[in-house]
Structures are given as C-alpha cells and as structure tokens.
Amino acid sequence: MSEQAFQDSWWLLTRARGVGLLLRILVLVSPLAALVCTRAAGGPAPVVIEFGVVVLTLFCVVLPDSHLGLLVSLLAGVGWLATVDDTTTPWSLAMALTLLVFHTSLAAASVAAPGAAWTAALRRRWLLRCGVLAMACVASWLLVAAVNVYDVAASSALVAAALVVLAVAGLMVRDVTTDGAAGH
C-alpha cells in the first residue's frame, strides 16, 4: 500500500459520517472485543499478538480494503488457539460473533466511500446477512457442544476424510474465484 493511497484513505476517513463512520467504529471495536473474549475464556493472549492486533486494527480503520484485516483475523485466531484450552467454552461463540462483525464491517466499509449515505434498504440487507451468519455461528457452537456431550471418539480416518474434504473445497473455491471472475 503506497503512502499516497494511505493519505487518500485518511482524507476520505476524515469525511466519514453516518453508516460509514459506524462501520469504522465497529472495525475498531470488534478485534478489541475478540481480545476481551480470549482473556475471558483463557487469560491474556501473548503480548505480541495483542499488540499486533491493536496496531493492525488501527490501520484497518484507515484501509478497510486491504489485506490487513486478514492478518488481524489470523492473529486473533492464533491468540485464541494459544490461550484457550476449553474447546466448549461459550466464549468461542462470542469470539466468532466478534470476528463476524469485524469481517462484515470491513467488507461493508470497502464497498462505498466513507461519506456516502447508506439507504435504509442497504442497511437492512447487510444486517440481515449478518444475522443469518450469526445464527450459523450459534448452530455451529451448538453442534460442537453436542459432539462434546456425546463424546464422539477421535478417529484418524475421520481426520483424514475431513482434510480431503477441505482440500477439495479449497481447490474448488480457488477455481471458481479466479476463473469465474473473468466474466463474459
């Protein structure tokens, strides 16, 4: 990201108002909330990770359409993995919701200039989407809790099958995203 692009983004940020301003506040707050969830679930994450998340989040506010959000998400996940041992803690749901808010806010902030006035229909559409994904997070957490309750035995075959499914899914996604994006 060039210095000029950063300056342009900063200038645009100073014009933020309404929904554009709210989105940037959410971008700023949600990773901090994720760190709070991590602390609540298993204690403080390594200082380097927390510091990295905070600093990168500040840049994300200025540059929502950059890959810094990817680093913040990964760092938050690493912090969780390194800190939390309880795999069924309800804080994982809260953590997932904060990541959802972070990702959606960044995506929404990158579709329009910060000063643009969002229409009511547009706001409803994004809120509805966010709500659906939040429901998916709840369902996912319930599924994990159920697996834990029924104590499904670990299986090497199951792990291998899951890896294969992930690999195939990854390849399919890559093909669809790169080739399909060429358009007509």
Binding site: L81, R125, L133, G170, T177
Partner: protein, 434 residues
C-alpha cells in the same frame, strides 16, 4: 474484453476464504472444534459470496441533465446501471468536480442497493457557483456483489460532459430615455421626427410630403392641405466593451465575494439582457481577453444567448494584449458601455481614446467595493490597495474632467442618471482633434 473489464475478487473475499480454510485445517489437525466455530462466519461469507458470484459486467451510462445553466442553478448528474444478471448488490459512485461546482450529496459520494433502491439514488445534484465552462465527470462507479466479495469498477472518460455556466445577470433596469442615434429602425422613439408610427404633430403640407400622410379632416376644415407627422423610430446600438485585462480580487462564486471580472461579466450580462429585451442591437468587444474578441451587433434572444456564452468563456489574458487602436464597430452613434475595474492604464487610455472620437461612452466601474479588505491577515495588502485606489481615483477624476461618465456598478438603476445625462448632452460634446 480488457483486463479491467471483469469482476475481481476483493480483499474481503480473500480474507473470508483464507481464514476459513486456515481455521478449518487447524481445527482438524489440532482437534479443536472451537476453532471451527471461529471459522463459521468466514465459511458462511465465502460460500454465500461464491454462490451469488456475478459473471456478467453491468452496463453503466452517465449523463448530465442540462449542459448549460446559470450561476447558482443546479442540474443533475445521472448514473444508470443495467445489470442483466441481477447479481449486482451495491453500486457506489464518486463524482469528482472542478472548482466552483458544489455536489449534493456531499463530495458526490453515493451508494445504493441496486435491487432495493434502483439506480435513481445514484443521481448527484451538481450546482455551479461561478460562470465559465467546466468539465464534469465521469463518476467513478463501483459495483460489488454479495458481501463485497467481487468488484467491478468503471470510469469511462468519454462519458464526461462539459457544463457551461452563464453569468447570473444582476437584475438591471434603466428608465432613462435612449441616447441619440441616427438609425431609423427599432422600437424606440427618436428625438427627431421622421417616418415612424408614433404621432408627433399636424403641419401644413410641404413639397416632398407623402400623400398618405395628408390629414384630410384638418385639410377639409381649414381649406389647406395638412399632413400628420410622426416621430421616427430608431435603432439603439449598444456596444459592451468588457475589460478582461485583469481580474482583481478574490472570487467566491455566486454565494460569496465577487472579483472584478465577476462583477464585469455579470453587469455586462445584465445590461445586454436589458437592451436585448428592449429590442436593441448589442455588440460585444473584449479588451485583452483570450478567445473570442468580438461579437457583431444583433438583436434577439439567440443573440443574447451567444453574448452570454462568449462572456462565460472570458479568461484574463496572460499578457496585456491591447494595441490601443479604436476597436472596429464603434462610432455611428453607438452607445459604448465600458465595464472595467479601471486598474489598468491600458483600459484608462482606451476609455479616453474612445471619448476623444466623440462616441457616447459610459464607463461602469467594476472594482469590488471591499477590495481593501481582501486579506485581513496581511495589513500591508490593504494599505497597498488604498494607495493604489488613490492613484486610481486621480485617473478617474481626470476621465470625468474629460467628459467621460464613470459610474460604479450597483445593480438595478445604477446607470439611470448617467444614461439620462448622456441623452441630455447627446451630440453637444465637441469632437476632439486627434
């Protein structure tokens, strides 16, 4: 299809994909189902975006409502997006504009949901606050799919438009009688009797009188032939001499302070509109401006439009281009209205030169009245202007002593007294020898 003419995945989509895959792999390898919960929003967003991935780029058309407006008037910049596939969700646009153009919404930033709002919400109101010709648009139009995962942006420079802003003519009206001119056509009553429509008197028949002028009732009653006489109709020929040698002062557009060229152009437009409305012929001469230097005299509203368009294109010359010669088209009884801030020696010389040829000349002083308050942060600027104004006042006094009427532009009626005086002294001023 060019490389830019296609949908591209965004950083948001890359984030959703990579985080989803990394978290899922870690969850499987580390046997951490809680990480799967963390991956859920990213998996959901990525899958959703891929399912609703657009493949056909939309068609974007841009247009402007009016290509010619008056100062302070607004028009609309239209953006139409045609999405045959129906997968464009969000359309954002950013219309940049040059100086003197206000946009609403602020900064020309708009965003709509194409499905729910249509593309009517993409209209940007454009308001021009100063005369001139400017290039507007095209807007940068960015379309995105679900979750902002795929983006297609376009900015077709050929869809820009030229917006001509005509000067907002200050309302001007003159009740003064017309200045003496020798023409015999037009709608104004001449001070002389001649062939016209308006009754003047009845007198005895003289050789040369036309038979259709005989007043038979009076002739029968008196037993002597009498004829009805009429006032001649004459054609008023007004020449607007616009001094564009300098633009003094700071212009803030129609809503703020005016520079000398602002006042000059708006006053010239007002005077032209007044005389054209009265059916007179108006010519335009530019002193020192770049571009069109002269518009021949004519009447009618199309001619007024032509005059205003030429005035809207006025730009002060880089160098003082004034040969000092009497411009063509003067003389022949024309009323010359010279509009100038009177800060240039060339303009002052030109005024004296015109008057020396016995041409009716009215000089309209277009210097901004608050010129000495231009830079409150630097008192020396105001002081320098006061010194300059003292010298200028001396020159103006000399012009008045030479019989040239100089009147500051103050809007409606500000020229009445001077025009009446010109009528009173018409033809009495001796022509000086060169």
């Amino acid at each position: 299809m060019s490389a830019v003419d296609r949908w591209r995945p965004t950083a948001a989509h890359a984030r959703a994909l990579i985080v989803a895959l990394v978290f899922a792999i870690v969850a499987v390898l580390a046997r951490r189902p809680d990480v799967l919960v963390l991956a859920t929003p990213f998996v959901g967003a990525a899958v959703w975006a891929i399912v609703l991935r657009p493949t056909i780029v939309p068609a974007v058309r841009q247009s402007i409502g009016h290509r010619t407006v008056r100062e302070g008037d607004a028009t609309t910049w239209h953006i139409h997006v045609d999405d045959p596939e129906g997968r464009v969700e969000t359309v954002a646009a950013l219309l940049e504009a040059p100086d003197w153009v206000d946009r609403r919404p602020l900064e020309g930033q708009v965003v709509v949901g194409l499905h729910d709002d249509g593309d009517e919400g993409l209209d940007v109101v454009v308001r021009s606050t100063r005369w001139g010709r400017r290039r507007i648009g095209p807007a940068l139009v960015v379309t995105t799919s679900a979750f902002g995962a795929f983006r297609w942006a376009t900015r077709n420079d050929s869809q820009g438009a030229s917006l001509l802003t005509l000067p907002q003519t200050s309302r001007f009206d003159a009740a003064a009688p017309p200045v003496h001119v020798p023409g015999l056509i037009g709608v104004n009553r001449s001070p002389r009797q001649g062939s016209g429509n308006e009754f003047a008197s009845i007198r005895t028949f003289q050789p040369g009188d036309r038979l259709r002028r005989i007043n038979w009732p009076r002739s029968v009653r008196t037993g002597t032939l009498h004829v009805s006489t009429t006032w001649a109709d004459h054609d008023r020929h007004v020449v607007l001499l616009v001094d564009a040698l300098e633009d003094v002062g700071e212009s803030e557009g129609i809503d703020g302070t005016a520079s000398s060229l602002d006042i000059t152009v708006r006053a010239a437009g007002a005077i032209a509109e007044h005389y054209i409305h009265a059916g007179d012929r108006v010519a335009l001469l530019m002193l020192g401006a770049r571009g069109v230097q002269r518009v021949a005299p004519a009447s009618g509203y199309r001619h007024l439009r032509r005059l205003l368009e030429v005035m809207a294109d006025v730009q002060p010359a880089d160098a003082q281009r004034d040969d000092g010669r009497l411009p063509r088209g003067l003389g022949g009884g024309a009323l010359v209205v010279m509009l100038s801030p009177l800060t240039s020696p060339a303009a002052l010389r030109r005024a004296v030169n015109i008057a020396d040829h016995g041409i009716s000349l009215l000089v309209v002083d277009c210097l901004p009245p608050d010129i000495t308050r231009q830079d409150p942060g630097d008192p020396y600027v105001g002081l320098a202007w006061r010194i300059e104004l003292l010298k200028r006042a001396r020159e103006v006094r000399r012009m008045r002593e030479a019989g040239i009427a100089v009147v500051p532009w103050r809007g409606p009626g500000s020229l009445d007294v001077v025009l009446r005086d010109l009528q009173h002294h018409a033809g009495t001023r001796p022509r000086r020898s060169p």
